[in-house]
Symmetry: C2
Subunit: 165 residues, 2 copies
Amino acid sequence: MMKQGVNVMPDRNCRGRPWLHGKFKGCGYRLTMGREAILGVLSKHAGHLSAEDIYMKVHPGHPNVGLTTIYRTLDVLSNLGLVYKLDFGEGRARYELAQGPKGAHHHHHLVCTGCNKIIDYTDFIDEEVELLKETERGLSRKYDFNITNHIIQFYGLCEKCKGKK
Amino acid sequence: MMKQGVNVMPDRNCRGRPWLHGKFKGCGYRLTMGREAILGVLSKHAGHLSAEDIYMKVHPGHPNVGLTTIYRTLDVLSNLGLVYKLDFGEGRARYELAQGPKGAHHHHHLVCTGCNKIIDYTDFIDEEVELLKETERGLSRKYDFNITNHIIQFYGLCEKCKGKK
DNA sequence: GTTTATGCAAACTGTTTGCATTGCT
DNA sequence: AGCAATGCAAACAGTTTGCATAAAC
């Protein structure tokens, strides 16, 4: 007989739960040292880390955590919606924490195609978000989509790079 | 003595020249059969072709054109601004002609993360473009960037995929 | 004790590069 | 003739996978 209120099967699709550790375990995933270390790095260094960046930062304290684990953990985290997987067209993915517990500010990206510098901007975000919401509503209806995410990125040359030939 | 009006050195940075073939040759690049074939495929099948897609379509008529040439040509084309290199997070790049000679319509993309279906939408484009221009102006000034391009993409599940768990 | 997570090495995939040859102009 | 473009094969880079072992629960 099944006990009340207990998920026997891990619930791999649960979003909208509490925060980090709680959310993690609540979804049926195990909280290991490697995963804690990765979460730690992500919340300490807020912004655009590649798998290898994370590996480098985790490795000193946890030499036994391999790159594979980094990839697998990031995959879990982004499925849980805890982490955004970003792509700036460099041929490698980058990751950032979706939201701090206090609800970090939403931002978009400005990418220099010369030196790959990336600027998070929050200017104009309000207007953008407003318009995006409307667009999202319209697109959802017209194309019968369940829209979960969006990307806005500007590309160009930063002040240093636009000088060079 | 240098002849008037003739570029002895190929001008690899020339944008804003006439159209396609003219532009191509005008920039010091040679117009070869392979390149013509690739341009042909791009203008016939408007939208989101991967390098391999293009290879497949070019190959029957030009069995001697290899994948390497496809990549190299696409690189040239996107440097010339004739082709946009798109990234939908599938781990492969996709390409589309920037503008037809008649000035094809600007559009953005709606991507299904379930089946990778991609919808070009032009709805709301006017409002978006308006806002983007302003944002672009603001960002250019504030961060001293020379902005050349932007991306807007919505991600979600299409009507078929949102049913399946 | 059962099931998930990990490390390692090897496999994969899309893309790039070196070099000798071909082909525009 | 001279230099750019090509094909081929090999190199590359980031990411994924198979499998035996270790660790959470």
